[in-house]
Amino acid sequence: MNAPPDDEQALTPADPWTALRVHTQARIALGRSGASLPTREVLAFGIAHAQARDAVHAALDVAALHRDLDGFGLPILEVRSAAATRAAYLARPDWGRRLDASSVEALMKCATPPDVLFVIADGLSAIAPQRHAAALLAATLPLLADLAIGPLVIATQARVALADAVAIALGARLVVSLIGERPGLSAPDSLGAYVTFAPKAGTTDAERNCLSNIRPQGLGYEDAARQLAGLIRAALVEGISGVALRFEEDIALPLFS
């Protein structure tokens, strides 16, 4: 997608301030076709939007994720939310926060209260957990070896707060939701990690801590794992999460800081 050479014949001469591009990832000095964008820029934007749209609508390949998570030696459970379809999921966030009836029953059968529970959820980008959840867990779990880790729970059509319902059913002290973030034009596969101590019905976002943009080109697995483990330990020691959690390193921001 390089700009074409600027010659007298070019229909879309390069903007003389193209050098400013080094200062920002914003789409500046794009050139013009009359009042509109040059064709190459219409296509570049279209590609980014297409990838984001595909990420929103991609279904989580649960079987493949199950295989990827097999090696951790933890039981693996599968649950889904009360949103039956992707369209219902997008329109009704309240349904995406509730477990469907069969999932509630499945969880009741295997309750063994853990310290820490991981819920791996599709969220708004299933390709994010598909690509990054197993690698992040591989880096994180060794840092938590002294803690009782619950089963790995794969959740579909899930919002962040669905993890609260799972944690309540399994009696977990703390839950981590590893969930696909809303895809942006620059990254369709960012994974978020939301940490909630003593989750309950009606937990607010102010009571969670969040690590964002986890992916190799963003917050890398090793860094994310170190920060996540630190956050989990701080929340367990302090007995709280969210805005009120005092944490030495300025890394895990409350959701709406």
């Binding site: 920002t24 013009r32 929103v56």
Partner: protein
């Protein structure tokens, strides 16, 4: 109780709030709130009942109790009965006819605004097709000014929005220069900061102030931090032009934003005290958007469009320069697709203008909404036809800080070319002096540009 019969079926609506909600065109946020009509016929029955309702009903019945909500108190206490007189005998349906008739001239509409409550504006909009919302709004002119004059007939202004995910001043300056070179920025240069840190915010105000002063740009800067941060900055001596705040239509929503009517007055007074405007004194910039009240659980059972109209009652108490409905930002659980976003954008623009506000619209969407650039092109063009005061200008329509798609500098150029819309007059003169546009107002080709527009700034960036 309100009733309407369609054929053999009789429909009953228990309250004014229920009637308004069920008369609303379908949108996902009203379904999420559980206030939408349950069938298409019930929706039409609500509209039939609403059309027969005297406008005066909205003076007698408040939707949120006077004692419980300071926005209701503002609406009731500031109502101008004399201004209301010309339409006082009309029903809601009759008011729609009046708005579209030749009697509703630009002058008559301007005189009427203080006599209308937001609920009246919301009610009549629910009986109006998109075409009606365009026809009525384009008759209304609301002009505001600071260093540029915004909202004159045949003019369109752009808020230059040069956001950067880390607030890097170089990145923000690069995007700002890009926008100015594309002829954008006559509404304001407004940065959404990622940080809340006073020193970093101060650097942004200083940078924009220096740029505007150095090049004599007839525009105003704004750093869209929380309003308390902006008041603090004024007290610390920062060069603040406009004061920004997000506001909503209920006291509870404003509380969730950390503001009250008294705090907004304090902000306006702080802005006015600096006397930085040259052609006007409108110092406030407000943003609103349908769905915000429900998302904060502060909607009191009202539909989201009625809540939004009530936000305009808040805005108009402070003589703003700019009021911006950020229509598609909130996501598909409130406005599901392009159709709902387009409808909401036209409603917000019409209701705001009707209530006397200098309305702009952030024509925008997120990647999980069923919408794309084509939908935004449509909304932008119909808003241009409706006479919108200003829209956003974001590099390439891609806001790399807020993570959503708005309108680009190019979109502004396209709308100017399609509808023959010129810049704010002071900004137009400046663009001609800078040799960036020709006398027809068209951007010069990159080959015809003067050697070094903003040469010193670009040079400073490359050091």
């Amino acid at each position: 109780m309100f009733r309407a019969s369609i054929g053999v079926r009789s429909h009953v609506f228990g309250s004014l709030a229920e009637l308004l909600a069920k008369a609303s065109p379908f949108r996902s946020g009203d379904a999420l709130a559980g206030v939408a009509a349950v069938s298409a016929e019930e929706r039409m029955a609500a509209r039939v009942a609403l059309a027969d309702l005297p406008l005066r009903v909205f003076l007698d019945q408040v939707l949120i109790p006077y004692e419980a909500d300071e926005v209701t108190r503002l609406i009731v206490d500031s109502h101008d009965a004399a201004a209301f007189a010309p339409v006082a005998s009309l029903t809601v349906g009759g008011f729609r006819d009046w708005l579209l008739s030749p009697r509703a001239t630009t002058e008559a509409l301007a005189a009427l605004a203080p006599g209308l409550t937001p609920e009246m504006a919301a009610a009549v909009s629910k009986l109006m097709r998109n075409q009606d919302l365009i026809l009525a709004a384009r008759k209304i002119r609301v002009v505001s000014a600071f260093r540029s004059t915004i909202g004159l007939p045949g003019r369109l202004s752009i808020r230059l929005q040069p956001n950067h995910p880390a607030d890097d001043p170089r990145g923000i300056l690069a995007s700002t220069l890009d926008g100015l070179l594309y002829g954008a920025g006559d509404a304001c240069i407004g940065i959404n900061p990622a940080t809340d840190e006073p020193a970093k915010l101060r650097a942004l105000w200083e940078m924009l102030d220096a740029l505007i002063a150095r090049h004599g740009i007839p525009t105003q800067s704004c750093v869209l931090a929380h309003v308390t941060r902006q008041i603090d900055a004024i007290n610390a001596g920062a060069p603040v032009d406009l004061l920004f705040q997000s506001v909503g239509g209920t006291e509870a929503l404003n509380r969730s934003f950390g503001v009250s009517l008294a705090l907004l007055r304090e902000a306006q007074d702080a802005g006015l005290s600096l006397k930085r405007g040259t052609v006007g004194n409108n110092v406030m910039y407000f943003e609103t958007g349908q769905g915000a009240a429900l998302s904060a659980n502060a909607h009191h059972g009202l539909d989201q469009q009625t809540c939004e109209a009530r936000a305009y009652a808040v805005c108009r108490a402070y003589a703003p320069l700019l009021v911006n409905s950020v229509v598609g930002f909130i996501g598909p659980e409130y406005l599901y697709d392009g159709k709902q976003i387009i409808r909401a954008g036209l409603e917000d623009h019409f209701c705001g203008k009707l209530l006397g506000l200098p309305m702009g619209v952030d024509v925008c969407y997120t990647n999980h909404a069923e919408a794309d650039q084509d939908d935004m092109d449509t909304l932008l063009t119909v808003l241009g036809a409706a006479g919108v005061n200003f829209v956003m200008g974001v590099p390439g329509a891609d806001d790399v800080m807020l993570g959503y798609q708005s309108t680009s500098f190019h979109d502004g150029l396209a709308l100017r070319e399609t509808l023959g819309l010129r810049h704010a007059p002071e900004f137009e003169d400046w663009l001609i002096r800078m040799q960036l546009i020709d006398v027809q107002g068209r951007l010069r080709s990159a080959r015809e540009l003067p050697a070094q527009p903003f040469g010193d700034a670009i040079e400073a960036l490359s050091r």
